[in-house]
């Protein structure tokens, strides 16, 4: 495992472990409710009604990083669930449905009071239905109306012109859905949602993302890369699940300040930086060392992933007179930003150019079917912009479907033939 170069990375990991321990203590000792939710559900509403929320994708990444995914996924396959189905969104289900198959991290997930998911991909309703059954817990689903108009350069609209991002009928429907969700949360928790507090929380989320925006600019404009992509991800994701809280803002600032100091001190990830790489797609949680594997051998550094860049561009909303509408506009557009043509491709290219990217590795996560779609558009847009692309077929949590040596060999050949020639 590569050495952590940032103190904030260690602090982020410690915080997450401590947060999860505190969650288990609250659930088991105090019989307090918590919720298990998809990453794209607005966490702010849960926190403001005093219901801690665990992200499904975060839990999957932890299970995968602890090398436990193959055991649980093998149990799921043995149960007859076909291998080509999405593993990222279902690994958590597997830890609950087949508890004896592996060793779930940190004592495993306690039974939630509520599971909550937006019905984005086809599989979500299925996976969460099975999961709710396995827990014997309630499932609350949020419908996801589909976009038919995707205006160009979405990232130029999100902050001030967010009402233009989304058709009015969709914005109204999603805002109404969030109202229903609030009613549900208020019926579970002991606290009513204070609309003024929601506005204040969204302002604090803006603050957090402004800090990350500044961090992104530091990285993009730095002569040489001051921070590994994996450390960017660790710091960003630890704060995203508790975004807008005191700890999250303070930690974002800590990361930013450490980054700025490293840049001012001309400290770099790799002494011999020759190529700046971008990773397009979710992280390879079972093999994060992959992202630093080409530093010594080729001077190739992963500079960019969506995780840091996405927050500032997708989360910030100014003009919070109607905070629920602002939150709805963010919620409704999440999937389109990252996966759908033309939005995903044009944003990826814009980010590549801003970060002076020399080459891109584009993940084709075959089992995550909706996320695997639109990849050809992204690849062609990058190549048209003069950025060589290597396609990487992998599952983000299933190490059984990954040959680390072969993958490294393929990347090395790509770098030698198309990037460092």
């Amino acid at each position: 495992m590569s050495t952590k170069q940032f103190e904030s990375t260690l602090a982020a990991a410690a915080f997450q472990k401590q947060w999860f321990g505190e969650l288990r203590r609250r659930v088991f000792d105090e019989r307090r409710p918590y919720a298990l939710i998809q990453a794209d559900v607005p966490f702010e509403l849960f926190d403001l009604t005093d219901i801690p929320a665990v992200s499904n994708q975060w839990w999957s990444s932890i299970v995968a990083a602890k090398r436990q995914a193959p055991a649980f996924l093998s149990a799921m396959a043995a149960d007859g669930i076909p291998g080509p189905l999405c593993r990222y969104c279902s690994l958590g289900l597997a830890t609950t449905r087949y508890p004896k198959a592996g060793d779930a991290p940190w004592g495993g997930l306690p039974t939630p009071r509520l599971l909550c998911a937006r019905l984005t991909c086809d599989c979500i309703h299925r996976v969460f239905s099975l999961w709710a059954d396995a827990f014997g817990a309630e499932l609350y689903e949020i419908e996801h109306p589909a976009a038919s108009e995707l205006p160009p350069k979405w990232w130029e609209l999100t902050r001030h012109r967010w009402r233009e991002l989304i058709e009015p009928h969709r914005l109204d429907f999603v805002a109404g859905s969030l109202e229903r969700l609030i009613e549900k949360l208020e019926s579970i928790g002991e606290r009513r949602l204070d609309r003024a507090a929601l506005r204040e929380r969204l302002e604090r989320v803006n603050r957090q993302e402004e800090i990350f925006d500044a961090a992104r600019k530091l990285i993009a404009s730095a002569p040489v890369t001051p921070v590994r992509m994996t450390e960017q991800i660790a710091n960003v994701m630890a704060t995203q699940w508790v975004r807008g809280t005191d700890w999250a803002i303070a930690h974002a600032q800590h990361f930013h300040d450490e980054l700025r100091a490293r840049r001012l001190g001309r400290r770099r990830v790799c002494e011999n930086e020759k190529a700046r790489l971008m990773w397009v797609g979710a992280g390879l949680w079972h093999d994060t060392d992959f992202y630093s594997a080409f530093e010594k051998s080729h001077g190739a550094v992963f500079v960019w992933s969506m995780y840091l860049a996405f927050g500032p561009d997708a989360y910030i909303r100014y003009g919070l007179d109607d905070p629920l509408a602002a939150l709805a506009s963010r919620t409704a557009t999440f999937n389109e930003f990252l996966h759908n043509p033309p939005w995903a491709a044009e944003w990826t290219v814009a980010q590549a150019l801003e970060h002076r990217i020399d080459a891109a590795l584009v993940l084709h996560p075959k089992s995550m079917k909706p996320s695997a779609m639109g990849r050809f558009f992204i690849e062609r847009a990058l190549e048209r912009a003069g950025i060589p692309v290597l396609r990487v077929e992998a599952d983000v949590v299933d190490a059984l479907a990954w040959d680390p040596a072969a993958a490294r060999k393929a990347v090395a050949a790509f770098l030698e033939e198309r990037v460092l020639e």
């Binding site: 669930i81 019905l119 991909c121 086809d122 299925r126 429907f173 759908n340 079917k369 779609m373």
Partner: protein
């Protein structure tokens, strides 16, 4: 008469999509649809004719360059291939419902390909988005989407249309549904017709003009009612819904008869009428929201499976590589089928193509099991 009627029904089901591009004049009055979650009544009331994209055992080399492998079903590959090779240039519109991720992404892909100039000859590409939540908000949203699609199609057809035309189209479709249900009834109990005849006879409802469909289906039902029952294990096809009879043919080649399929192209397409005495848009949305597709809630799907098992000795579950949804239902399938003591087999090949050897082996074993159970039931 029955053979002639069935042949005409089959032609009305099988041929229209493949005939696109040959006659520009007739293409101009058609709307190509990717899945039967789009109300055919809306299309017809707008003065247009629906034609459904269908899968078949044919390569799609042009689509291959823009669709990632193993993510899109055969029918969407055929649709994109047709769009990129100019075969859809003359049609009035392409409508894709959000009945699955692949259908929705296909909508976005076609829009983007047109924007990039890769598919310069595409007609307008429209989305029809129905939600499945059981809530007043979702019902209102769905009715509005139906109203909006009707307005868009009427505009493309160049003629103003109102609620009366729509109610008339609903009434015509209901008469056709009544005839379709007569055909489906002949598959229950002791089946009078094979699956390879039944599915096109039912699926033609979607594309033939309703009065013609009703006449043909009634004629077919009148004649088939006097046929001797087919003596063979009765199979239900479930899993990812089929859009053609290729899998039926492969199953029946092994000595079975397919008596039902969980598919809107077949047994599940015409089960109930639409009551348009109130708001016709709300009624249409409520009806089509229950069409079997990848987003139908699992509880509703299991109810359909439970009901369909009455006539089945065995179940073939089709879970091809592109499936992202129905495979999750397998534990529930297994439990329900065990409760009914109905054996099953899972096949993974493309249902629009030919069976893989391993799929054929599974079906043969399944049918052996079903025959043994039938024989045992006869003895005892």
């Amino acid at each position: 008469m029955s053979l002639g009627a069935i042949d005409e029904l089959r032609a009305g089901f099988e041929q229209p999509f493949w005939a696109l591009g040959r006659d520009v004049a007739s293409d101009g009055r058609t709307v190509v649809v990717s899945w039967p979650s789009v109300p055919v009544e809306l299309v017809r009331a707008a003065g247009l004719a629906p034609i459904f994209a269908r899968g078949r055992n044919a390569p799609t080399p042009t689509a291959h360059g823009v669709l990632e492998p193993d993510l899109f079903p055969n029918r969407l590959r055929q649709l994109v291939d047709a769009g990129l090779t100019g075969r859809l240039a003359g049609v009035a519109a392409v409508v894709l419902p959000r009945s699955s991720d692949p259908d929705y992404k296909c909508f976005l892909y076609l829009r983007e390909l047109a924007r990039l100039g890769t598919a310069a000859e595409l007609p307008p590409v429209l989305l029809f988005d129905l939600l499945h939540a059981d809530s007043p908000d979702a019902r209102a949203y769905n009715a509005d989407r139906a109203r909006s699609l009707y307005a868009d199609l009427a505009s493309l057809a160049g003629q103003p249309r109102g609620d009366d035309e729509l109610r008339g189209a609903v009434a015509s479709a209901n008469r056709a549904r009544t005839a379709a249900r007569r055909v489906q009834a002949l598959r229950a109990g002791a089946p009078r017709l094979s699956g390879v005849d039944a599915l096109p006879s039912l699926g033609a409802f979607l594309q033939l003009e309703p009065e013609r469909y009703a006449a043909l289906a009634d004629a077919a039902a009148d004649s088939l009612a006097h046929r001797a029952p087919l003596e063979a294990p009765r199979v239900l096809v479930a899993g990812e819904p089929v859009d053609g009879a290729a899998l039926h043919a492969a199953i029946e080649a092994e000595g079975a008869v397919v008596v039902a399929e969980l598919s809107p192209f077949g047994a599940c397409g015409t089960e109930t009428d639409i009551d348009s005495s109130g708001d016709p848009f709300a009624a249409l949305a409520a009806h089509y929201e229950r069409v079997i597709d990848a987003r139908l809630p699992v509880g509703a799907l299991m109810q359909r499976l439970d009901a369909a098992l009455v006539s089945a000795d065995a179940v073939v579950i089709s879970l091809p590589p592109d499936d992202a949804s129905f495979g999750w239902d397998y534990p529930r399938y297994r439990e329900l089928l065990a409760r009914h003591a109905v054996p099953h087999a899972v096949v993974h090949g493309d249902p629009a193509g030919s069976l893989t050897p391993s799929d054929r082996g599974r079906i043969q074993s399944l049918l052996d099991d079903a025959r043994a159970r039938r024989e045992a039931a006869r003895v005892y």
